[in-house]
Amino acid sequence: METTDIGLWGVPLAMLGGAIRVSTPFIFVSLGEAITERSGRINLGLEGTLVFGAMSAYAVAVMTGSPWLGLLAAAVAGLCFGLFHGWICKFPKVNDIAIGIALMLFGTGLAFFFGKPFIQPSAPDLPAIPFGAWSDIPQVQAALNVNVLFLIGAALAVFLWWAFRNTRVGLIVRVVGDSADAARAMGLNPNTVRLLATGVGGALAGIGGAYLSLYYPGSWTERISSGQGLMAVALVIFARWNPLGCFAAALLFGGAGALGPALQSVGVTQGYYLFYAAPYILTLIIMIATSSPSRTLAGAPGELSITK
């Protein structure tokens, strides 16, 4: 693709395109984590799920030639990791945060173990829709080339926002997350609800991983994730467990993550690595700004160990 010289306008444009491209895994992981945390548990293992999802999606896509089967494989793998987390955490004295750390290690290890043979071959990509076709400027076309998963993620955020408020299932998840005792009084089994919520959360994180390996950056390597799974957990807190907030925060994080490459594309190479730290610094600042020692966070599920 030849480039038209559009000067410094390239930076915001590249950041917009980057925000859309980089944010998609954040959207899926944070929506998944929002469901899990609303039910009262925290799954830090989504980082491992993301990496394993990326590997399994890529492997299946290479073997079958279909990126959609790869996506399915990633979702199923994520579901299994989520269900495992949900199951093991129901035992007394088993700490959900620590189990998450262990699953992070385990998922990553398993992904590297099985992913070795798939580092070389190339897999078919997930399709994108060229919303920028009206423009003659290649940078605009590149920025508005939107992957279908981004659109699905956006729709899912709206749906979850509606479902948490208006459906029976949404209410059940929220009750279990706010008070296990109240849920038991209503005849609900908190462990079952949490098991399913963590399972769904894992499946969504697996899809986020599939996006990484099948679209952007679009190949399987052992360095495919740089902590997106973990940042997503922080992002959910920042978004106050609101799916629409998760979507907005994911876009913001995507933009921050695109800052380094965008500046590099216009020739800024000084402090290149520091710009790569932008999403982490942003997350930290947001966490500091939104936490307070004297009050619990508005909208926080009452049973969540991280806010106690």
Binding site: L44, I88, F91, P92, K93, V94, N95, I97, A98, I99, I101, A102, L103, L105, F106, G107, T108, G109, L110, A111, F112, F113, K116, S226, G227, L230, M231, V233, A234, I237, G271, Y272, Y273, L274, Y276, A277, Y280, I281, T283, L284, M287, I288, S291, S292, P293, I306
Partner: protein
Amino acid sequence: MADTVSSPDVRTILDARGYRAALEWIARRAEAFVIPLAALVVGMVLFSLFILAVGKSPVQLYETMWRGGFGSWFSIQNSLSRGAPLLLAALCVALPARLGLVVIGGEGAIVLGGVAAAAIGVALNGAPSFLVILLMGAGGAAAGGIWIGVVGALRHYRAVNETISSLLMAYIAIALMNHLVEGPLRDPASLNKPSTQPLADIYRVGNIPGMEVHWGLVVGILACVLSWLLIEKTRWGFAARIAGGNVRAAQVQGLAVGPLIVGFTALAGGFAGLAGMLEVAAVQGSANGSLAAGYGYTGILVAFLARHNPLAIIPVAILLGGIDASGGLIQRRMDLPDATVLVLQGMLFIVILFSETFYGRFKLFNPDLWQRST
């Protein structure tokens, strides 16, 4: 005792009491050994099943692992060398854990400790070696201590979750290291692998006499023993254990929880920073990307396996150092990916955490419940 009661059956009763007291003494302590060991065995059995499932022989694997980790004097020294940084990295998790904090960003403190030490070593080139090495150690510890101390301060004064913030800080630290090593501190002569200028030989930390293991092992073991003394034998450690059990209770007692948390996290980070300094001064000779070798993450596993007891960290770190050391041999001999070791570590981690649920469940370990059966 009056001589009239020195009949044999009284002595039997007394002996039985002593015997019983000994049994109770053992039983109360056995739980802390039996459950983790059983969990280790279960983890290894599960891993055997995994290895069987991918079509390899678990017997050969464990044999290779033993040979690679502990089979010869050479491999034992290798394991000890790898265990040395794990001792310090594990303390970075274990000390805050005694206060009820889950800090998992030790990698960041290691990396920055290494960079700080390398910068000091290069800047003071020409000064007496003992002074430079001392200052490198102090600088590394200070860098790591500040980094993790900030995590503790944010936790106490701003209620920022320490698990997430410490990991974010680790990513920031690695980016900072890359920036410094590829930019301001880069040795122009390091082409393929950007590094800081190499330390002069007199500023390198050498080996323990008679061994191919650097002094970091001694430093690590000393740090573990001192940490144990701090926690078990001093009033600060006592206060920390109270605050770890119940922050509210500690505050009601008038304990200064804030300084306690900041102090413990800073000390923990200081140990990790020292690990980074030792990597630079004893192993690499300069600061470069190899500092982020994952010791911080393996240290998390070590600390949890040791149940955050500094003395238990010593054998566990050496064991995991051995497992790490055998990774290469497993890869070559058995044609398995190097991530095999990661899978084993992950499995052990999960099983150990799961085993927490069994504490206090067995009558065998609780003499107070024995009465009914005897």
